[in-house]
């Protein structure tokens, strides 16, 4: 009977709160990068979590090892550099090849990075499975987000440090609110910048976003792109690939700043799949698709997880199926199901066009 009286504002407000939280902003940033890779360039990137991990671990290692004075700014620079190096590595080996190679290489690179970072050999640098900061450091309150989240946070300098920001169910702590503002500002700036790149035709072979307004001479109506005439190395494509990797690392850094820690388990394939789900939810190759999709996917994810958690708490689920302690483990299942469902039933997402559901043309064999 408790369900009958469930608070409607909680039902709507809490998922929305998750949808605009810093984690969602990080997903939106990563989806932005993925949109650059897949949506605009048609490069099948299954290693977005690798870029995020490179950025987050680059920053975290720099801070905890005290390189360059342990400054977080230096850390962010190092993280960006690491992600760019990873992108260059993947791109050099796979960018001229069919989809499946790009996918396999990026996936393998991301998985290798995650497992290497989590390995015992790298524990001195990366903290192994526990991540950074190390368990001992965490117990004395070391957090990677202190500098940006508190020292540089204008919201905590007000007269009332306990004040929260927001309204309704969307109240945030000052630290979280600051990250929300920064994260979504980055998303907006990134979206506009990428849109500018797309409109500028720097991406050779990308779809013309406005085919009627600016058809290129020789392209009838701009509706069909002619076959690419230039080898990929001579186009802007490598730069765009690397730019996507860098944006992905920013996403990882935002996520790291929200948690205050980095852990290898956050950068598994399910992280990549969450980014894909966000992108597909919002609409592949659409301007605001990544942002909208990240809000949507995070909200849906929260809703489902919350429902399962409540059901498990209420004892509706048999313990053998999903115990209360195991609710978190179904998160990848929900992500995968969400992605598959969206691809199956609404491949164009919320804002995109039906690129995923392009129907095959009839062939002679079909007729026969």
């Amino acid at each position: 009977m408790t369900i009958a009286f469930v608070d409607l504002s909680a039902l709507l407000g809490d998922p929305l709160r998750a949808g605009i939280g810093p984690q969602s902003a990080a997903v939106a940033l990563a989806a932005l990068a993925l949109n650059l890779h897949w949506g605009w360039q048609r490069r099948l990137d299954l290693g977005m979590a690798g870029f995020m991990a490179a950025g987050a671990y680059g920053a975290a290692i720099t801070v905890t090892q005290g390189w360059f004075g342990g400054s977080i700014v230096a850390g962010i620079v190092i993280g960006l550099t690491a992600a760019v190096a990873l992108a260059v590595l993947i791109g050099l080996c796979s960018l001229g090849l069919p989809d499946v190679y790009v996918a396999v290489v990026s996936l393998a690179a991301a998985e290798t990075l995650r497992r290497t970072v989590a390995s015992d050999e790298a524990r001195g640098l990366t903290g192994g499975l526990v991540g950074l900061p190390t368990a001992a450091d965490r117990s004395i309150g070391v957090s990677l987000s202190r500098r940006i989240g508190q020292d540089w946070n204008p919201l905590v300098r007000t007269e009332d440090p306990t004040r929260t920001y927001g309204f309704w169910r969307l109240e945030f702590e000052p630290e979280t609110m600051w990250l929300v503002l920064v994260g979504w500002a980055l998303v907006i700036v990134g979206t506009l910048a990428i849109w500018r790149i797309v409109r500028s035709r720097a991406l050779v072979g990308a779809p013309c976003p406005d085919p009627v307004a600016s058809p290129t001479p020789g392209r009838p109506g701009g509706s069909e792109q002619p076959p690419r005439a230039v080898p990929w190395r001579h186009t802007g494509e490598p730069w765009v690939w690397v730019l996507g990797g860098a944006i992905g690392s920013v996403a990882g850094i935002v996520s790291m700043l929200d948690h205050g820690t980095v852990e290898p388990s956050r950068f598994g394939p399910e992280a990549t799949m969450l980014v894909w789900a966000a992108l597909v939810c919002g609409g592949v190759a659409s301007k605001w698709g990544p942002a909208v999709g990240a809000i949507t996917a995070s909200s849906i994810l929260y809703l489902v997880e919350d429902a399962v958690r409540r059901a498990a708490d209420a004892g509706w689920l048999p313990d053998a199926l999903v115990g209360t302690s195991e609710v978190a483990t179904i998160r990848p299942l929900v992500i995968g199901a969400l992605l598959v469902a969206v691809v199956a039933w609404r491949p164009q997402g919320l804002l995109g066009s039906a690129q995923w559901s392009r129907r095959r043309s009839p062939t002679a064999n079909d007729a026969a």
């Binding site: 080996c93 069919p98 290798t112 390995s119 509706s223 995968g336 491949p347 043309s361």
Partner: protein, 558 residues
């Protein structure tokens, strides 16, 4: 298909009839030229090859240009899904050429559309200037089909229409034929690579140096961790699936006898164990390759099927207390059924909707992630092992010591691999009611089992068998797939995507290298990644000569 394959010289000769109206109306069909094999053309092709080399593109890659560009009209997407390239050496072999010339319905020969080509030439004059050869645009749909040259076409897309051309071999093929690497070089390269990888181990072995990682603690990597009896099942799950070294050392009493000899396993042992491991990797990779070659689907959930196989075998063994052989048989059958169901329920509907091969990859990875989550809940955190054969005395085979179960695992997987390869060849010759492809008849008709379904069944059964055998020599936990994923992908790419034999050989090589280098390189992931990157940069898959046939054209997914 916006695959712009353009050859410069003489490609306007021998213009062929456009057979298919569908193809004609696609302004983006593959433009493939069929120069007559004159000396001029050969010279031109050599020039093209040299330029290709300068450009950093292997000539082998040239003739296969898949591609896909953004197409807003459905028609232009037509050709995009058809054959084309995996890594290239597979698609431009002499045998390919001869087969294509003989009028086989496969191959990269596409009717040309001269008008469209001319229009293109006007728009992009620079491309046609000089000996600019090709544009390999390996785009969105390039992965849909692994090869152009099997006995039958492979992609679930529109198949090329049999053309009546007398020759579709272009100059690049001829050039490639000359440039082909002899098999001895392939074998030699593998041997040299193995030797190079093993060199530090050899020196260390001779000097009696104990490898760093096994110095103080037990070597906890796989499959060396099988030398001891089952671990206590009460430790927490570890993300990387390794044995809990830190936990074990912190809470084990100091006087506990070590379960393993403290010194490093000898090089020969490691190599032998690496071959065992490699056979299992090769088994899984060959299944992956078989499915990809036949149906054009790269199933990234394949390694999760390995995990599922191990879990199922463990469950069966614990449940009914059957001998391992029976359990393995049941698991293989279940794996085949599961693979067919997976294809039927998940893959085929998406293919029928026209989902490209690229997005399909994403879908399979999403399913892999979901499968892993499900398996994690189902298997629980604690690692397990079979009840039978938990402790065994190693047997000495010459200088190496292996457990009988390792020998069994190696033998069974070797037999299975051989059987699959021979079976594929038999089916391709007409076994099981398969007829060689005829013109105008949809390939695959008349089969007892449609080729696509057969590939899914056999490939998934191979994965399940690999899982069962992995369970024999390792801990059984949810991380089996995690540990194997990169290595399996590396084996597939080293062998050449779509080659069953290549994947098997690549798996053995990778297993040996990983296990031999294990004390120095840590877990095999870095080696696997290096192999993947190296195989793509060098573009030297093992299967350049050891081609295998596919199970046939799956036909349109029904």
């Amino acid at each position: 298909m916006p695959a712009a394959v353009r050859t410069s010289a003489g490609n306007r000769t021998a213009s062929r009839k456009t057979v298919s109206g569908v193809e004609r109306c696609s302004s983006m069909s593959v433009r493939n030229s069929a120069p007559r094999r004159s000396s001029t053309n050969i010279a031109a092709s050599w020039a093209a090859v040299s330029i290709a080399s300068v450009e950093g593109v292997q000539p082998a890659l040239v003739a296969t240009a898949p591609t896909h560009r953004w197409t807003h009209s459905g028609v232009a997407a037509t050709a995009a899904r058809s054959r084309s390239s995996a890594i290239a050496p597979m698609s431009v072999e002499p045998s390919t050429a001869s087969r294509v010339r003989a009028g086989s319905p496969s191959g990269s020969a596409e009717p040309r559309d001269d008008a469209a080509d001319g229009a293109d030439a006007r728009q992009y004059p620079s491309v046609h200037a000089g000996a600019a050869i090709m544009t390999v645009r390996a785009g969105g749909d390039g992965s849909s089909s692994p090869s152009t040259s099997s006995l039958v076409a492979t992609a679930p897309g529109p198949r090329p229409i049999p053309t009546a051309t007398e020759s579709t071999e272009n100059g690049l093929v001829a050039a490639r034929r000359r440039a082909q690497v002899p098999r001895a070089a392939v074998i030699g390269a593998i041997v040299v690579a193995l030797a190079l990888a093993a060199t530090p181990a050899v020196f260390a072995d001779a000097a009696g140096v104990v490898p760093p990682s096994s110095r103080s603690e037990e070597p906890d990597r796989w499959p060396s961790q099988v030398r001891h009896e089952a671990r206590p099942a009460d430790h927490t799950d570890r993300l990387d699936g390794r044995a809990p070294r830190a936990i074990a050392t912190t809470r084990s009493e100091p006087d506990a006898a070590p379960t393993i000899t403290p010194q490093a396993p000898r090089l020969a042992d490691r190599a032998a164990r690496g071959v065992v491991l490699g056979l299992l990797i090769g088994l899984a990779a060959a299944g992956f390759s078989l499915i990809h070659r036949t149906t054009g689907v790269a199933n990234l959930a394949h390694v999760e099927l390995v995990t599922a196989g191990a879990a199922l075998a463990w469950g069966l063994e614990a449940l009914i207390d059957a001998p391992i052989a029976l359990v393995a048989t049941a698991t293989v059958v279940a794996g085949g059924i599961g693979g067919a169901a997976f294809a039927r329920v998940v893959v085929t509907p998406f293919q029928r909707r026209g989902l490209d091969a690229g997005p399909l990859l994403v879908v399979t990875l999403a399913i892999a992630v979901s499968m892993r989550a499900t398996l994690r809940v189902a298997m629980g955190p604690s690692p397990r092992s079979y009840v039978a054969h938990r402790t065994q005395e190693p047997v000495a085979v010459g200088p190496i010591e292996l457990f009988p179960k390792e020998l069994w695992a190696a033998g069974v997987s070797a037999v299975a691999l051989t059987a699959v390869v021979l079976g594929i060849a038999w089916v391709a010759r007409g076994g099981l009611g398969a007829r060689p492809p005829e013109r105008g008849v949809r390939p695959g008709r008349g089969r007892i089992v449609p080729p696509g379904a057969a590939a899914w069944i056999v490939g998934s059964a191979m994965a399940a068998l690999a899982g069962t055998l992995v369970g024999l020599i390792q801990r059984i936990d949810v991380q089996i797939g995690d540990r194997m994923a990169v290595l399996v992908l590396a084996a597939v790419l080293l062998g050449g995507l779509g080659s069953v034999v290549g994947a098997a050989v690549g798996g053995i090589a990778i297993g040996a290298v990983v296990e031999v280098c294990e004390p120095w390189a840590g877990s095999g992931d870095l080696i696997g990644l290096a192999v993947i990157l190296g195989a793509l940069v060098v573009r030297f898959p093992i299967s350049a000569r050891w081609r295998t046939r596919s199970l046939g054209d799956p036909g349109c997914p029904r």
